[in-house]
């Protein structure tokens, strides 16, 4: 490295130092501290006491750990495919050159900018079994609608239903991806006599696959961290049926003063998320990278 390069390096580091310092203090330090706390008995106000792996072994014996993990995986495994599919369908529809295209795009994106708390309160009313519009509509069809958020059997599907309202974010990413599909490919497909479905299956879908992978990864990460909407809509009930991992972690940390246990939970969550993401990458042979071909 020449002197000039070294000087540039230091200058560059000096310029990014506000971010670096912030990153070290507010991200790296808490993350490492939580790793240490996960091996301690720590109630936040007194000094942590080293207990080795006990928090981790306690987790295995905690029935709510399994329950919350199940709830979280359920919401992810059912919610993400629905969300990916629905946002793709909407994006494809909105990609058609129709009148008021801009207006439609805005309308479908709009729910994504509604604050999470407001959306949660709105859906709690919407899904109210007694006077909510959803059940009222079902009653008009002659169906006595379910208890939705009040019924342990329906509460998770209800949460998924409510979350689908906010697919605007991934929809916009799909739309951007669709703009990048070269028209020449569709023309070539037309010349080969491809049907609409074949054009979608063999041109659009492969070209969009990196975007699908991106949305899938983001979906997994946000699903595993789900908190706000559930905290407001159900508080984890009824009967722990919507008690998700992050919510239980929060309860342990800030209500039961079991910060050491909560830290262990956080690291287990990180491990689970990492395994899920590695799994996704390992099986991502279906993703077509144009630049590589």
């Amino acid at each position: 490295m020449t002197r000039r390069q070294r000087r540039d390096l230091w200058l560059g580091l000096a310029f990014v130092s506000p971010w670096l310092v912030g990153f070290l203090i507010f991200t790296v330090y808490p993350v490492l501290a939580s790793l240490y706390f996960s091996f301690t008995d720590y109630n936040v106000v007194s000094a942590p006491r080293w207990i080795g792996m006990r928090n981790y072994t306690d987790l295995i014996n905690d029935p709510l750990f399994g329950k919350t993990l199940y709830n979280t995986v359920y919401l992810a495994a059912i919610g993400i495919p629905f969300s990916l599919g629905l946002s793709l369908v909407i994006a494809l529809l909105l990609n058609n050159k129709v009148r008021f295209q801009g207006l439609f795009r805005t309308v479908y994106f709009l729910p994504s900018v509604v604050p999470a708390v407001a959306a949660a309160l709105l859906w709690r009313w919407f899904l109210n079994p007694d006077y909510g519009p959803v059940n009222e509509f079902l009653w008009q069809l002659g169906v006595n609608g379910p208890g939705w958020l009040a019924d342990p059997g329906w509460s998770k599907p209800a949460l998924i239903l409510a979350s689908l309202w906010g697919v605007g974010g991934s929809m916009v990413i799909y739309l951007a991806g669709l703009q990048n599909v070269p028209v020449a490919l569709y023309e070539a497909a037309d010349l080969d006599g491809a049907s609409r479905w074949q054009r979608f299956r063999f041109v659009t879908l492969p070209m969009l696959s990196p975007v699908i992978l991106f949305n899938l990864i983001m979906g997994i990460i946000t699903s595993f961290q789900a908190f706000t909407n559930i905290y407001i809509m159900t508080g984890g009930g009824p009967s722990n049926s919507t008690l998700v991992y992050a919510l239980y972690l929060y309860q342990n940390a800030f209500q039961f003063f079991r910060m050491g246990y909560a830290s262990a939970m956080a690291w287990v969550l990180l491990a689970i998320t990492a395994v899920a993401l590695v799994g996704v990458f390992r099986t991502s042979g279906w993703v077509y990278y144009e630049a590589r071909s």
């Binding site: 936040v44 106000v45 007194s46």
Partner: protein, 434 residues
């Protein structure tokens, strides 16, 4: 010839004068500053709206009366536990903080709160100055970690209008569990869709029935957890039968349609619930949201051999953090704030009950007592007062009780099994503190 002092001072003289003048003014300034030096203490209170204004009025009054201490108050919602916890853990808390009762012992036991015993004793305040059972509230292992702000007391409420409409004697609330069961059945209604329209009785606070059935959540003398007490098991068996009979799914569904408690849509005001537990705040709430409602309040029904005078009490607390910068001044303000006169005025503003015995008779509070309120006060004075468990694992215990109830409601465990599991979990957690 005497030489007259020179009319023109020398430079040296000038310097001396300047130094003298500077010293004199510095001394004057120091004296002045000492005379008006005020220690500023920070106080986090937990009330908004008109309640917050009542608290601010007290703060202003204190500030006006104290030359050397000034309270700088700010509204920090009591639900903002993370903020309070972070400030305590970070070693930079306010000097006086308002917290929920369940936080007091865990924080105090963890060393985050000052033990107020010596200060209270020095000020001549003792157990007899408080209502029965309140002095021990917020204390653990001989240390008193906080002072209750104002008390919330629960009692059994019944909607007289609903009773009358159903052809029942509106002046005859149930006295025993058997009478309660019979009335619940008579008053519960279902509509054409099969959905519940009215629930005769809604048991919300599980612990009340544990105590009514002779049980207890923990032993206040030995501080042992007693979740699997036979009285608790009996109460859970009764609750299990209740949820089975009225179908927990239907109740949950019905419950989802209930309006906000502090609104005209409160299910009790609307007659969706005929009998329930309710605190003394209902006196103020009904005046505002259901002025025409005819309701009664009395002791909780109990089974034969159970407790007929169960009086559940809850409160928020004022605590002085151990690392507060101005502990002495904060304690002085706390003693003033919790003195009978201030206690009476603040409780009256909140429609709560002052924890200080002498405050009950002061006009500021006594003039606001209605017949309903009198029932709550009588229960406090003569009943079996129980407060949330003052243990380092207080909220975890409550959560485990709820988990046990959920298991019983869903039929995944018997009352005995569910409570034994809860007992084991809480006991294991408590061991960490010993």
């Amino acid at each position: 010839m005497t030489l007259l002092p020179s009319a023109r001072p020398t430079a040296r003289n000038l310097r001396r004068r300047a130094v003298r003048a500077w010293l004199a003014s510095f001394a004057t300034l120091t004296l002045f500053c000492t005379a008006v030096a005020q220690t500023e203490i920070t106080f986090w209170y937990a009330w908004g709206g008109s309640e917050g204004q009542a608290m601010q009025a007290l703060v202003d009054e204190f500030n006006a009366s104290q030359p050397d201490v000034r309270v700088r108050s700010s509204f920090v919602p009591i639900g903002d536990g993370e903020r309070i916890l972070a400030s305590l853990a970070g070693g930079a808390p306010a000097d006086l903080v308002t917290v929920w009762d369940w936080m007091v012992v865990p924080l105090g036991y963890g060393g985050a709160l000052a033990d107020l015993t010596a200060d209270l004793t020095a000020a001549g305040v003792g157990p007899d100055d408080y209502l029965p059972g309140i002095w021990e509230y917020g204390a653990y292992g001989g240390a008193k970690y906080g002072v209750p702000t104002t008390l919330n007391v629960y009692a059994f409420m019944w909607n007289k209008d609903v009773f009358a409409a159903a052809g029942l004697d509106p002046e005859a609330p149930p006295r025993t569990i058997e009478e309660l069961d019979a009335l619940t059945e008579q008053l519960t209604t279902v509509d054409a869709r099969g959905n519940m329209r009215r629930l005769g009785f809604y048991p919300n606070v599980t612990a009340i029935y544990c105590y009514a059935f002779g049980g207890q959540l923990f032993d206040p003398t030995t501080l042992e957890v007693t979740l699997d007490h036979p009285g608790n098991v009996a109460a859970f068996e009764w609750l299990a039968a209740f949820y089975k009979k009225y179908d927990i799914a239907k109740i949950r569904r019905f419950q989802a349609g209930w309006g906000d408690m502090a609104s005209p849509f409160n299910p009790f005001y609307r007659g969706q619930i005929a009998m329930q537990e309710g605190g003394q705040w209902e006196v103020a709430f009904t005046r505002e949201y259901a002025p025409d409602l005819s309701w009664g309040v009395t002791n909780f029904p109990a089974p034969e051999g159970g407790r007929t005078d169960v009086t559940p009490v809850q409160s928020s607390f004022w605590v002085v953090p151990a690392q507060a910068a101005h502990k002495a001044e904060a304690t002085r303000f706390l003693l003033w704030l919790s003195a009978p006169e201030q206690s009476a005025r603040f409780a009256a503003a909140l429609a709560n009950i002052p924890p200080r015995r002498d405050a009950l008779a002061l006009p500021a509070f006594a003039d606001t007592i209605t017949p309903h309120m009198q029932t709550y006060i009588d229960m406090l004075l003569t009943g079996y007062v129980y407060t949330p468990p003052g243990l380092p694992v207080g909220l975890y215990l409550s959560d485990q009780l709820n988990q046990a109830l959920a298991a019983v409601q869903d039929g995944t465990a018997t009352a005995q099994e569910a409570l034994e599991t809860a007992q084991r979990n809480v006991q294991r957690e408590l061991e960490k503190y010993r």
